[in-house]
């Protein structure tokens, strides 16, 4: 919608990312020279086994974590070297977040949670836009409820609405269906799909669930801190096949190392 130019620009780009935790013998390298780009208006899933670095990658891309080496940019803004204030402002204005759990403030109503980033910024979210999202997510009659009065699926839908309310450059979703039953999970994923198709939203989702990944336009596979595969138009089966393959590859690599 907003970026209706025919040229596909990148919403997020990372170049040569390195990230290590700890030092000396205990050092764990989470990201090894990762370069990846996420196109505007696309739904990308990041997959990989536990410890593959997929969450670290997302945190670095979203300005929640710092990188040791390499650059990250969101739209035209380079994150590298930004201070806490600038990063906070960037997260507030250009990024939407959906977490696996603890996504909402218990003291606020659903509506207040949805407009939270705008309220923090001291501005007002575009009412027409917010109404459209709320309608799409079928939350209109839940707006006055507190999170404790909502089901898990409804809570996550409220979180989705919040992520999109400020029309961010990109939405990062971290295992958004991890805590939900199949049906609620499907509803959330359908909405994410819709927001890409209809609202031209950019979404980057970390998941370990092949069925969730199947909703995406593209899957980036991470293993041992490196991008090992990039797959377009995934299906659940093709993703499962790939993952089996990686697990074998990783196991073989580990045998070789030891």
């Amino acid at each position: 919608m907003s970026t209706s130019t025919p040229v596909k620009t990148n919403a997020v780009a990372a170049k040569g990312l390195w990230k290590a935790y700890g030092s000396g013998e205990a050092q764990v390298v989470a990201l090894r020279d990762v370069s990846v780009e996420f196109a505007s208006g696309a739904f990308t899933a990041i997959m990989g086994p536990s410890g593959s670095g997929k969450s670290t990658l997302m945190h670095c891309l979203a300005g929640l974590d710092t990188t040791d080496r390499g650059t990250v940019s969101i739209g035209d803004t380079a994150l590298t070297g930004l201070g806490d204030k600038a990063l906070t402002k960037l997260r507030r204005d250009k990024i939407g977040f959906i977490f696996q759990q603890f996504n909402l403030l218990p003291t606020l109503t659903a509506e207040e949670n949805i407009t939270l980033p705008a309220a923090i910024a001291g501005s007002k979210a575009d009412p027409a836009w917010v109404k459209r999202i709320i309608d799409t997510l079928d939350l209109a009659d839940r707006l006055d409820h507190k999170p404790t009065e909502l089901s898990g699926g409804q809570q996550q839908r409220v979180a989705c609405a919040r992520a999109l309310a400020s029309r961010p450059e990109v939405v990062f979703a971290d295992e958004p269906t991890g805590n939900l039953d199949t049906r609620s999970g499907a509803e959330v994923l359908s909405f994410l799909r819709t927001s890409v198709d209809e609202f031209d939203q950019t979404i980057v989702m970390v998941t370990h669930d092949p069925n969730a990944a199947a909703y995406a336009d593209r899957v980036v596979f991470l293993a041992d801190g490196q991008v090992v595969e990039d797959m377009d138009d995934p299906t659940a089966d093709s993703v499962i096949d790939k993952m089996k393959h990686f697990e074998e590859l990783v196991a073989a690599a580990q045998v070789k190392e030891s």
């Binding site: 969450s55 945190h59 929640l64 974590d65 806490d84 204030k85 906070t88 402002k89 997260r91 507030r92 204005d93 977040f97 977490f99 696996q100 759990q101 603890f102 996504n103 909402l104 403030l105 218990p106 003291t107 606020l108 939270l116 980033p117 309220a119 923090i120 910024a121 001291g122 404790t148 919040r162």
Partner: protein, 848 residues
């Protein structure tokens, strides 16, 4: 299990430190109070035993106490005749026996007014014993050798503004003024100037007797030196009429009297120490509740792997025991230091530099018991609650939905009513001898009840207070957070409430007393100037009838109301009653502005009596009824009620005709109220009146405003002292606020992480915590002020019958405390807010 407890504690150092400080402060004050009392007792008895160190036997008159109704007002009556002294001197085994004459007198200082504003002047006879006494140290000159010579204490010299060699005028109720030359100056053992602020004058025995016994050969006590036993002395003078004690017994008894001051101070400190302990209970309960809530998963895990309920309770209680013990021991140690410091201070400011010998009594260990006991008891409820955590909670995300407030509110209401009822009973004199205890317990119970009601009160109050503060979004979040766990907010604020309520209650009483006093003077009193004196010792200040006549003749004085008064041994129909009189009752009532409701003041005769409505009603008397009046000197007479007056504080009581003034203990006017001619300069008249009073050492002239200040000035000092002492409870309460905030920040780590992730700046996070803090503090202050006003109002209502008929709020103080609450809220938020701002966003949102 113990190992798990200890490791757990090590990971919660900050929280435990804050809790410990509360226990520590409480224990410290309780211990200090006990040490102060014991130390002062010991130090005082040390000094008093100096006084009797070389005396073997002390003989005192039978009643031992002041003469009371049988003698001049309040002055000890020497009542041992000289021949008894001779008998003692003639007893076998008595080397020497000195008759001592002692009593209160008046001395005029260099300003023409009485020496010693707040303590009496004591006269005694200088004997051979005085020269040899270890207790009296001659500083300059010598003892009196002639009847017109006097030796005075260094304190007297300082207070009077006189010097060695000067002439000093002294008199008593029974003896006219005489002049004396100061020939000697003495101090007390240990380099002190006075025992408890009194000034002293040593006369020859004959002169002391002229001043105190009307010249009769009587003695207050006899100091016996030698090998004779008390039995020997008793058989010589006969038993019954006199008390014969060994020097040791006498000094013990005397010390007891003096130690009252120290005991009083000790009780005050103990009281405030206990308030501090009470306040720290809230803090401890809160801390342990939160610790348990946070450890829910850990405790559930322990339960899941096989720990019994009892083990969980013990685990929490062990933690409490360790904290209580360590904090109490440290508190005890600091309490010893504080007790020593306080003793020094009391000695320096209230006992003229009495040498202090530190004594830590065994009872101080009770402070330890209190500290540990309170900690354990406070932790018990959270501990039992902890044992109720189901093992399955280990597998779940911890959710602590706030529990409904119904039960706590009902219980709170009942407890409040019970406490209030007890208080009401005490205030309406239905508890007999237990009134004071009953009222204190009533106040305590009421506080507990209101504390239980605070959660339900917090809901509306926090919204209202918060609405003012939540003009930013962060502020709004802070308000919502404050309202989120009413129990926690309430208990935190309750600690603050108690301290503020006590201060406000006392301040309300003080301002009501002031308002009543100035109201009495403003509403009907027509006078512009008041002649009166402040009572220092047992002697009521008065002035001569001649001076009263002179006052009436001062230029521009229109009218004068004179007031004679007596309460010593006076009665109406055999019930104690205050008697008043005036030389011109009609004119005086005009000046006082007291209206006559029945009868008339114009046609009274010598046997007419006038009384106020309420007193007449209470006694079932009416105009024309007769009453039997008993006077100080034993005279009785029958009076007819000739007029009834409206109630008015100054004129309430019985007014007899001036013919009976001669039967009063002090047949002299105590006060005069002067009306200045309209248009005349009040200041100029005041100067003229002061001129007339130059020869009246006991009284001064003041205008109405000064008179109110003079009557109520000491109340401000008391209020100030109370505030300083309650500051301790305040500090503990503030620590409680910090504690609650730190814990809230920890508990809401993920929430904060989320807020920061979606764009909340550090400044906003800080603001959010600060608003929460200010709201909690304001809530506590508002509640405390409300409860304090209620408390003050209750007491004022109860005392209304005693003349406290005005209720006034201490507005200045109320505003000060509200502002202080905001400042305290800001300060308490500093550390927790910094913690919230420094939060690692990634760490906060990352799930395990």
């Amino acid at each position: 299990m113990l190992r798990a407890t200890l490791k757990g504690m090590a990971s919660r150092k900050a929280r435990l430190a804050l809790t410990s400080i509360a226990v520590l402060l409480g224990t410290m004050f309780v211990a200090a109070a006990m040490i102060l009392t014991a130390t002062m007792d010991k130090s005082v008895s040390g000094v008093i035993s100096d006084a009797y160190s070389d005396v073997d036997i002390v003989v005192a008159s039978g009643d031992g106490e002041n003469g009371g109704a049988s003698g001049p007002p309040g002055v000890a009556i020497p009542s041992i005749p000289g021949d008894v002294l001779s008998q003692i001197q003639g007893t076998d085994g008595v080397d020497r026996a000195d008759g001592a004459v002692e009593g209160e007198i008046n001395a005029i200082g260099s300003t023409g007014k009485l020496v010693g504003t707040f303590a009496p002047t004591i006269a005694f006879n200088w004997t051979e014993g005085s020269d040899e006494d270890d207790f009296i140290e001659m500083r300059e000159g010598s003892g009196p050798a002639a009847d017109d010579e006097v030796a005075v204490s260094t304190k007297f010299l300082a207070d009077s503004g006189l010097d060695l060699g000067d002439t000093v005028t002294a008199y008593s109720y029974t003896a006219d003024r005489a002049e004396y030359t100061i020939v000697g100056v003495f101090g007390l053992a240990g380099g002190r100037d006075s025992t408890a602020g009194e000034t002293q004058m040593g006369f020859t025995t004959a002169e002391a007797q002229r001043l105190l016994t009307g010249g009769e050969d009587l003695y207050s006590s006899v100091y016996v030196y030698g090998t004779a036993t008390t039995d020997d002395v008793e058989s010589a003078i006969g038993t019954g009429d006199y008390r014969v004690q060994t020097g040791q017994e006498a000094s013990d008894e005397a010390a007891e009297g003096f130690a009252v001051v120290a005991d009083f101070m000790g009780y005050i400190f103990l009281g405030f120490g206990l308030v501090a302990v009470f306040v720290s209970v809230f803090l401890i309960v809160n801390t342990f509740t939160i610790i348990v809530a946070q450890r829910q998963r850990e405790l559930a895990l322990l339960r899941a792997i096989g720990a019994g309920r009892g083990q969980v309770v013990r685990s929490v209680l062990t933690e409490a025991l360790l904290i209580g013990t360590v904090a109490s021991i440290v508190g005890l140690g600091l309490g010893v230091l504080l007790g020593w410091g306080l003793s020094q201070a009391v000695s320096a400011y209230m006992m003229d530099g009495l040498p202090v010998t530190l004594l830590v009594p065994a009872t101080t260990l009770w402070a330890l018991v209190v500290g540990i006991g309170v900690t354990l008891l406070s932790a018990l409820v959270p501990a039992v609650k902890a044992s109720g955590v189901p093992p399955v909670a280990a597998m779940r995300e911890a959710v602590n939905p706030p529990k409904p407030l119904r039960t706590i509110t009902i219980v709170g209401a009942i407890v409040t009513v019970v406490g209030g009822a007890l208080l009401a009973l005490g205030l309406t004199d239905n508890l007999g001898d237990n009134t004071l205890t009953g009222m204190l317990v009533g106040v305590g119970i009421t506080f507990v009840g209101i504390t239980l009601l605070t959660p339900i009160l917090s809901l509306p109050l926090v919204s209202v207070l918060g609405a003012v503060l939540s003009f930013t979004f962060a502020g709004k979040l802070g308000r919502l957070n404050a309202a989120r766990n009413p129990r926690r907010t309430a208990i935190t604020a309750a600690a603050l409430m108690i301290a503020v309520a006590l201060i406000t209650g006392i301040a309300t009483l003080v301002s009501s007393i002031k308002a009543t006093t100035s109201d009495v003077l403003d509403t009907s009193l027509e006078s512009d100037l008041v002649v009166s004196g402040l009572q220092a010792g047992a002697n009521t200040p008065s002035f001569s009838r001649d001076t009263l006549t002179e006052l009436r003749e001062v230029p521009n004085v229109q009218r004068v109301a004179d007031h004679y008064q007596d309460y010593r041994g006076t009665s109406v129909d055999d019930q104690d009653a205050m008697l008043s009189s005036s030389e011109n009752l009609e004119e005086s009532m005009g000046v006082f502005g007291t209206a006559v409701t029945e009868g008339s003041l114009s046609d009274l005769d010598a046997n007419s009596i006038v009384v106020d409505e309420t007193t007449a009603e209470d006694r079932g008397l009416e105009l024309g009824d007769t009453v039997e009046v008993g006077f100080f000197d034993g005279e009785t007479a029958t009076f007819t009620i000739g007029a009834v007056l409206e109630d008015y504080l100054i004129t309430n009581g019985w007014w007899v005709s001036p013919d009976y003034i001669e039967h009063f203990a002090i047949p002299k006017p105590l006060q005069a109220y002067i009306v200045v001619e309209p248009g005349a300069d009040v200041g100029a008249v005041e100067d003229d009146v002061a001129q007339v009073l130059t020869d009246e050492p006991e009284v001064n002239v003041t205008n109405n405003a000064e008179f109110v200040d003079q009557q109520t000035g000491s109340l401000d000092t008391i209020l100030g002292a109370v505030q300083i002492l309650l500051a301790l409870a305040m500090i503990i309460a503030v620590i409680g606020v910090v504690n609650t905030l730190v814990l809230s920040v920890l508990e809401r780590t993920r929430e904060l992480g989320l807020l920061r992730a979606v764009g909340m700046t550090r400044g906003q996070a800080r603001r959010m915590i600060t608003v929460e803090s200010v709201i909690i503090c304001l809530f506590g202050a508002v509640l405390g002020i409300a409860v304090g006003i209620g408390l003050g109002w209750t007491v004022q209502q109860a005392l209304e019958g005693e003349g406290l008929d005005q209720f006034a709020l201490p507005w200045g103080l109320i505003v000060t405390y509200l502002v202080a609450a905001v400042i305290v809220g800001l300060l308490a938020a500093i550390a927790p807010a910094a913690r919230a701002a420094k939060l690692n966003v990634l760490g906060a949102i990352a799930y395990e």
